[in-house]
Amino acid sequence: MKLPKLLGLLAATSIFAASPLRAQDIRIGANLPMSGPNAEYGEQFAGAAAIAVEHANADKMLSKKLVLLIEDSQATPQQGVVAMNKLVNVDKVPYVLSAFTGVSKAIAPVGDKAHVVSINGGGVSPDLAELGDYFWNVIPLVNFEVQAFAPYLIKERGWKKVALIYVDDPAGEAVKKELEIHVPKNGGSLVTALQVPRASQQFSGIAAKVRESQPDVVFIASFGAQQAQIIKQLRDNGVKQQIASYSAFSIPAVLQLPEAKGALFPTQSINWAADALSQRLASDWKAKKGKEPNAYTANYYNAVMVFVKLAQALEKAGLPITGENLLKQRLRSASFDVAGGRMVFLPNGTVSMPLQLNEVDNGTTKVVKANLAPN
């Protein structure tokens, strides 16, 4: 086919294939890693959000059908920006679920400029609190986690020397910064901090250096499949010390790894039996996935539910559902009854919630301390 004709055909197909603006749906977006090494997280997050959408539609909570448009961020900032542009400029959604610190930091300016709300339920860097009015977080950020965890590790268990392995990514660096503050504050010392590239899989050299530093506990700040690699190679290479991490450990790749047994990590404290809402989510999740729900399940369910409740209020007031109005509504009424209990938004768009301490145990976790609080 002659080139100009081919180009014309391509252009025509692109225009006509664009989704027509259907007045009968309410659409929100999700910018999650659906492929790549972190797809496991995306699958969980999207699954939880989908259940929320199902519940919202089944209970007819909004005047029209709620539709969730999922774009693949691949957990990389650049892909996230491309996906965000599509959601904001083509699909014109007022509200986007986000995940991963690096991605969130990249897409926040896009949402901010377009007055579209982004809400994060997975990334934990404290920087996520500084991304503007249109960026909200329903997960307690890692500074809370480390603040509460450090005293437990150092004072309660007596592990004073901490070795850190962290991924070279905003999330890993945030954990390093927090440990640098809180470990000495509690009387411990950070004996070594080793940075690893995101794509790295070879950790025998790292293991050797960790052994050399003779720590009492090894803190891993990474995410996704790499965590399992690090744990396995540490154990394979003679590192016998206690392993600790932050909430990113709550994925099957880590929980099912035999070498991860006994590892400690905090997460939000969720009481699944607390009320009917939480129980419904827990049983639907178990039915669909065959596994126990975890904090991420609650967070992404709640992220959607926050939208639904805000949109309900806007509909009642006769206001259009735009990012601006959603923000204003949230500032008016900041507390929500969601899965796990009552969640209150602070003015800067973050939430504070109780934490619990978990231990990896044969494919699942057991709660070691139900209320992990800083000092």
Partner: protein, 293 residues
């Protein structure tokens, strides 16, 4: 919808600048550089930093990017051009990987994976480029200038020397051409112009990070040049349009799982590269031009 097409058009234009400049060394000079994405990145980071730290406008930022990229390309060209084809490929590969490590790890300057965010819009004395249609105009102007510059160079005696060297280096050298100087200049020019694309990219997206400047990108650019047609002025542009429209078309096709679009896109252009090399090594556009460029 128009916003999306507008964005796509700007990206196509920026990549076309990269493809045209890569073609300058690859197609006309026969120099096989896998490091083009590194110079794209150097241009982008420099421009972003000039804009953020020094409050520079577009012209200053771009000029800075061009200078830095041009200077650093000297570092690659001078030693590496003494060696044969295969070695230069390996050297440029090495340079690309080194640049990649630097972009990822020199966080104070590049922000690593977190990148540089909130880059201010492109400023000119008197006005600011802030909306996507304005960026499209700016990019098209830059593309036109770059193409004009490249075509003037190609049709000058410098260009003739380049082609002579590409076709037979020994003969060109015997005819009195200073092979090393000519090749070095070609590399410097191409890298400096690649930095223009980098500057446009940084201002347009207002966010850059290492992921845009990887080996994959260099290969992507190479695919555009090869598929479109080496040693022709418009060939690389054609290649760019085709390769960039591909994911857009694929993502609108019903039934294709979203998660596989990236893979399928890469498979398509991988296959295109293979098939073209067997059946039409000159690229798609070469069939059109009669006498070659």
């Amino acid at each position: 919808m128009w916003a999306y097409l507008n964005n796509l058009a700007v990206l196509i234009t920026i990549n076309a600048i990269l493809a045209v400049t890569l073609n300058f060394v690859l197609g006309y000079a026969g120099i096989f550089s896998m490091a083009h994405a590194a110079f794209f990145g150097i241009g982008a980071y420099t421009a972003a930093l000039v804009a953020i730290k020094l409050g520079g406008g577009f012209l200053l930022a771009t000029a800075a990017g061009m200078s830095v990229a041009g200077l650093l390309s000297l570092a690659l060209a001078l030693p590496a051009l003494r060696v044969r084809g295969e070695y230069f490929v390996a050297a440029s590969l090495g340079l690309q990987m080194l640049a990649l490590t630097l972009f990822s790890e020199w966080k104070a300057v590049t922000g690593g994976i977190g990148g540089i965010t909130n880059i201010p819009p492109a400023r000119f004395p008197g006005f600011e480029i802030s909306s996507p249609p304005q960026y499209l105009v700016l990019s098209l102007v830059c593309l036109a200038l770059v193409m004009w510059g490249v075509s003037r160079l190609v049709n000058s005696s410098f260009g003739r020397s380049l082609k002579a060297i590409r076709d037979d280096e020994t003969a060109a050298s015997a005819a009195g051409k200073n092979v090393a100087v000519v090749k070095t200049m070609a590399v410097v020019v191409s890298s400096a112009l690649a930095a223009v694309a980098g500057s446009l990219y940084a201002f347009f997206l207002s966010f850059i990070n290492v992921e845009s400047f990887t080996l994959d990108t260099s290969v992507y650019l190479m695919a555009m040049v090869i598929i479109g047609g080496t040693a022709t002025l418009w060939g690389p542009v054609v290649g760019t349009v085709l390769i960039l429209l591909l994911p857009a078309v694929l993502s609108f096709l019903p039934g294709l799982p979203q998660t596989e679009v990236g893979s399928i896109q890469q498979i398509v252009y991988g296959l295109a590269m293979v098939l073209l090399m067997i059946y039409r090594p000159g690229g798609l556009w070469a069939a059109k031009s009669k006498a070659g460029a």
